[in-house]
Symmetry: C2
C-alpha cells in the first residue's frame, strides 16, 4: 500500500522504543512534508552518532574523548563514585548540581530472568576501580524498581568485601506529590526514613 | 552536558510531533546502543525519503511515479472521488477494501485562524478535476473534527455550482464502542442517522 521507501522508514521508526506503528506513520508523513535540507541534516546526524562518540574508558559514560568531561574535570571529588544504570541518569544527577563526585555507568541492570546478562553490566570494572582508585564511598543510584533494587543488592554483596562505604539514594515522597495518591511502598519508606524536624 | 552530536540528534527527534525532550533523550540513547550498520541504514533511508517519492500529479497522494498506484489502477471507478485531508487517510480507507473509486488529497484543512492557509489546500485542483474528469460523486472524507467539518462545508459551497453529487461519511457510534461512554454529539448523530432494522 505504501511506496517502498516510505514503508522502510516507518519500519525503522516503529522499531524504536515507545513508538508504535501508527505513530511511526504520522512521523514519517510529517518528515515527508519537511524540506530536503532538514532530512539531509537529520539523516547525517543519525549516521554520525557513533562516529564522534565512545564510552569513557574510566566510567563508561558517553564521551567525545577517551575520558568523559566529568572524569576530566579536576574539580571533582575522586574518592566518591555514584553508580548509575545508564548515561541519562548521569545527566539527571548532574542537573541537581548537588553531587561533586564521579560516576560509574553500569550499562543496565542484572537480568532477573536471563542469568547470562549479569556479565554485561560493568561490575568487575567497578571492583577494579574501587581498589585502584582507593574509593571511599560508593553511592548506589540504580532505579527504585525491582530490577534496580536487585542490582543494587547484587552490587552490595559483591563489593562489601572490599571494605568501602556503600550508600543508596533515599526513598520517600516526591516533592510536589500528594500523600493521598502516594503508593503504599513509597509511603512506608517515607515513614521509616522520617527525619527530625528542626 | 551532553556531547554535541548527541545533543544535536536529541533536538532533531524532539522537533518531531508528539516526541518530547525526555522521550527524545531515551530514543537517542537507544540508538547509541545499536550497531553502526543500523544507524547507517536508518540515516540513509531518512535522507532518501524525498528522493524517490513525489506527489501524484492527479490526486496528490504520495507516489513513486508521476501517477500513484491507485490512479494507475485501471480497475478503479474513475467517476467517484473521495476527498481526504492527508495520505494516511487514503491508507485507512484502502484498508477497508470497500471503496473502488479514486482519491483527492487536500494536504490539510482550511485554516480556521489564518485565512491565507485556505489557498494551500488543493481545492482549485479538485474543481478542475470535477469538470475535466466528469466526476459524478464527491465523497467528503475529512476528519470528524471542527476543522474537518469546516473544510467539508467550505468545499461543499465551492463545488455545489458544478452540479456534482456531494456526500459526507456517516457519523455514529464506533463499532466496539460503548453507548454509556459515547459523547453527546456522536450519540445525537447516531440517533439522527438511525437506520431501519430489517
Amino acid at each position: 500500500m505504501y511506496p517502498k521507501s516510505f514503508k522502510k522508514l516507518i519500519d525503522y521508526f516503529a522499531s524504536l522504543p515507545s513508538i508504535g506503528p501508527k505513530m511511526a506513520e504520522r512521523l514519517v508523513l510529517y518528515l515527508f512534508k519537511q524540506d530536503k535540507d532538514f532530512l539531509e541534516n537529520f539523516g547525517t546526524t543519525l549516521k554520525e552518532l557513533k562516529i564522534n562518540l565512545r564510552y569513557c574508558q574510566r566510567c563508561f559514560n558517553i564521551s567525545e574523548e577517551n575520558l568523559c568531561e566529568i572524569c576530566q574535570d579536576s574539580s571533582r571529588q575522586l574518592k566518591r563514585i555514584c553508580v548509575v544504570e545508564d548515561p541519562l541518569d548521569v545527566i539527571a544527577i548532574e542537573r541537581t548540581k548537588k553531587y561533586q563526585g564521579i560516576y560509574h555507568v553500569l550499562g543496565g541492570t542484572i537480568g532477573l530472568v536471563r542469568k547470562s546478562e549479569q556479565g554485561k553490566i560493568k561490575l568487575s570494572e567497578l571492583e577494579e576501580r574501587i581498589t585502584n582508585e582507593k574509593i571511599k564511598e560508593v553511592i548506589l543510584a540504580t532505579n527504585p524498581t525491582t530490577e534496580g533494587d536487585a542490582t543494587a543488592l547484587y552490587i552490595l554483596r559483591t563489593i562489601r568485601p572490599l571494605g568501602v562505604k556503600v550508600t543508596r539514594l533515599a526513598r520517600g515522597l516526591s516533592t510536589g506529590g500528594d500523600i493521598e495518591y502516594a503508593d503504599e511502598i513509597t509511603l512506608s519508606s517515607a515513614l521509616t526514613n522520617r527525619k527530625e524536624f528542626t
